[in-house]
Symmetry: D2
Subunit: 335 residues, 4 copies
């Protein structure tokens, strides 16, 4: 999609992505200049890459379509695989990043929230993480001194989705926050990627809160510091690609190929651009049928992979939050 289209796209079809690294790819497509108001650093390693995207100004935010703040994305094909040694390394790395975003003070109570619908496999990441969080808030004062020193007060809730509860998720979370007064919220959610090779192969952490409508579900809440009064760290994994986005990108891909092969300025060159703008959205609707906005693309082993990702994220959080807990302790505990 070129820049001109991008501006018109909202009228017809907009590419769906919850990842800052993909928003940046889209925003920067037609320019080799750096994107104003957006700073990016990438650390490439053999097994993984770690990208920091900083959205620094309102202009950057508008260009990216995402709130100002710090986005960290770990990408690794190993996340999908059964490789305990590599996962152990990634858990350590993630714990470090979570700690750098959260900067938790020693006695602070932290609330972890698992967003999403536990009945829809690729949306169940949040609730699955919650079931593996080492909760300790209720034990405060009852633990032996040695263990008391090793843990901080942590609570964890899966509030469900509006279709199940009849309540905006943001209202439930606000109610619990106002009652418990934690000093930080960590929200876990399943996301939608634009590119299918990122499905289950990336973990995004940010200090910007959770933007509405993420992942598979249709959630409208906005969980951020402005709404809740406490900092919010969001952690998410793209578990799906929106089917309409896939179809749209397929069209773009073939059109670009043709444009590449067509002489600029010819009548046909114009036809190609015109076709794209006038008829693309209608074609998507035709191809996907009545389900359109509701179809997603996911790998068949999504159940097993989401379980594994929930383990990785929960353990990263457990290690990041509890000062004296190691992965070895957790494996013993969680076995």
């Amino acid at each position: 999609m070129n820049e001109k289209d991008e501006k018109k796209a909202p009228q017809t079809f907009s590419v769906r992505t919850d990842l800052a690294i993909e928003a940046r790819e889209l925003a920067q497509k037609d320019t080799t200049d750096t994107l104003e108001g957006v700073a990016v650093e990438t650390d490439e390693q053999a097994d993984y890459s770690l990208t920091h995207v900083h959205i620094l100004s309102p202009e950057g935010s508008a260009r990216m379509g995402k709130p100002m703040g710090h986005y960290i994305t770990l990408e690794s094909e190993k996340l999908k695989e059964n490789d305990a040694d590599c996962h152990e390394k990634l858990i350590g790395l993630l714990a470090e990043q979570i700690r750098s975003l959260a900067k938790p003070k020693r006695e602070d109570c932290i609330l972890v929230i698992g967003l999403g619908n536990w009945n829809i496999t690729p949306d169940a990441l949040g609730p699955k993480v919650i079931s593996k969080i080492l909760v300790t808030r209720h034990l405060s004062g009852t633990l032996p001194a040695e263990i008391e020193k090793a843990v901080r007060p942590v609570a964890a809730v899966s509030p469900g989705v509006m279709g199940i509860t009849g309540i905006e998720t943001g209202e439930i979370v606000k109610g619990i926050v106002d009652k418990l007064h934690p000093s930080l919220l960590i929200a876990i959610d399943a996301l939608a990627a634009r590119r299918s090779n990122r499905i289950n192969a990336a973990i995004q952490m940010s200090d910007t809160g959770v933007a509405p409508g993420a992942g598979v579900g249709n959630r409208r809440m906005l969980l951020d510091e402005a709404h809740l009064g406490i900092p919010v760290i969001a952690i998410g994994v793209p578990t799906v690609v929106d089917a309409a986005t896939l179809v749209n990108d397929t069209m773009d891909c073939i059109l670009e190929e043709m444009i590449r092969q067509t002489e600029k300025g010819t009548a046909f060159y114009e036809t190609l651009a015109d076709l794209e703008q006038e008829e693309k959205y209608q074609m998507i609707a035709e191809i996907l049928g009545p389900y359109t906005g509701n179809l997603f693309v996911t790998p068949k082993e999504v159940d097993a992979v989401v379980d594994r990702l929930a383990n990785i994220i929960a353990n990263s959080i457990n290690i990041a939050l509890h000062p004296g807990i190691t992965l070895e302790d957790i494996n013993k505990y969680a076995w």
Copy 2:
């Protein structure tokens, strides 16, 4: 157990029951007088019986070990069985009783809470009911006028248990109530009966709130009007008998039989009474081993029966709360 023992029992072992009708059996055991401060009416029918227990005074409450208020118990062997026609009748009856306790006004928003741990089958009744409640609060204002008239705003949440969340259930519920301001809370919970023939064969409704420590779990919250500021209707089903209660009752049963066969005033008659008081608790601990307080008795088909009971209770609530919804509508909806 005779009255003298009863008074001493708390030091050693106390019979565990969450049912008002069983509390009354225990309280009244040695007297043919009516129990002061407690009024009871029973309506016996072919397929079911319906018992109203009113605890009317602080004395009655102390004798019963339960808060003052109105307890309604439906007993029917049919609750355990696969008999749709009979269940339809019982759903109508329950809906009527719930309405009589709740006295809901037309536009009131009502919050339904499913207590208990979804990971422990006989404790999962509450969460299972929640998944079948017709929630409508989030649709307010978006429905066609005709449907808008048929439903009231209803929300439904399963807050989880403290071991999972690190938060007292009462705190979560209070947080949500303070945010949503419903006019009534309905709390569903699994209970413990004293008698195994009442397992899955009774439904108790009351206007007294939920007393701590019900059912399988170890929950300490108190969900009542004093704590939450709104009326609380509790609905529960005994899904287990505490194993220590079963062992204790077995001992009582055999001791009573022997006392019946022994001449009063003989040395052996005294031995029997002494044995009971001195050694019963120790015997229970010996028989049940290290698990003691943690073992329960439940029928093997508990999973299927709890599903069926959750359906009955959810549909009773759906019909009781929504003015224009019938069981036929629900079957169509829920199929």
Copy 3:
């Protein structure tokens, strides 16, 4: 895809569909002639359509890429919806079709097999149907005469998939068939459609056995009369579209549009055709990334819809097989 491509397709990419009605659409695309060796009748009704495809000759079979035999497809948007009244009608219709294919004799024992992986939601249709089949084979001789008359001996097994058992599904089924000697096998399976508007909106029944590689899984067994020695009725629902098929069809769709707009014989017209043949497969691989063959498209409510479809199919089978059982009996039983 035009005919020329079709012939080359196996080298590069072949459209994936398990539906006879879609195989016929593909086979007939470029001709208005009737397809030789293939007879088709369609009965269009307000709520549904019923299509009979008869593959009558080896030529027809080769053109269709499917074994000779009788394929019946019920299509209805209502299958996805919560409409008990309409489902009741469709269950009656399906039961009739199953009976017409199965022609079961009064005392015959019939074995129902649920194919697919219960851990992968859109592949779990078969196992879910099995859990709702009214099995009676083990009760033979122990039932009251009146009930004995109403039922026939039915057994039901979910053999799992090879990745779970280490055994070809066909071997397990053959072992059970050789031991039980049923007179008919009914196999239930999740299928892949080509068109996303057919997802969860069609039920295909056939007397041809189950062809390999259906649905989400990679199963290689062939369950048919030649292999098992008894007739095999296959019943399936398309629950997914293969993502590569969706991408391929999207490309075709846009290329066709362009070819329509381009003058025949021009250089660019040739470019379009060349592009299609040379680069399409590579583009698919590029767009879908390393997951390619493994990604599927499915609606987010797939869990709930598959449960509903399993109910419809199981009840159709229950009514078709048991001479004296009605839907009313089943609702009572299964409630």
Copy 4:
């Protein structure tokens, strides 16, 4: 229970246990002589004990109420706990015992069967083990030589229970065995203990096959070498105590206490013995009500503990059967 009662017990009530070590306690109760035809050795360690019971003669078998053969029981409170280090040790120990019973030859194919009903938590042990078995039979010939050397052909099936399939479990297993010709069957099942302190704290392995009616279910199959034509190793864990057995043992316990306190030869001493024989069974029925044979005792955390036990058993089998697989490999694989 004294010996005289034991002989009469079958008419009235018989203690339910699937454990050889408990059968021996019952058989030997009133004698200090060694039990003829039964040899017992126990190895007591800090964390566990390992008991070998050899039933050597038909007389021993009759006294024990169990088939002749070798029974190995590992007892450890640690089995219930979250102690990965200790579990690792016990897995090694169990793998060794399984190997000593199975004596598997290098290329033999081995079939693992998970008995029990996956819908009933304490009966789901077998199916849960199956889902964690490293199956390899279908990979034979497709693996790299190095891995091929590390594994043997293993297949694994959960046949379900008769109420679900309509087929005797023994028939399904026989059908699969006759088709696959494995050289050994390993059958996993949930058992019933007599003593509640053994619940989830013991693992019994034997070379005698699986006796009918084990655990929670009512299964009548007999899976042994005589029926199947191949050796059968049974592995089981007591996950429940039959409630009637608990009540009966409670009665015995209190009666014994009284008999101890009563002078032999007095009229009351006789009363006690008479009571026991004439009325015990009726009392059990009275106490347990209509559910009698159907109630079991189980700890509330049964779901989590059964998951953990399934892990321990599956990994013991994986290590015992595959010559080149270690626990480290499995943790990597299964993570």
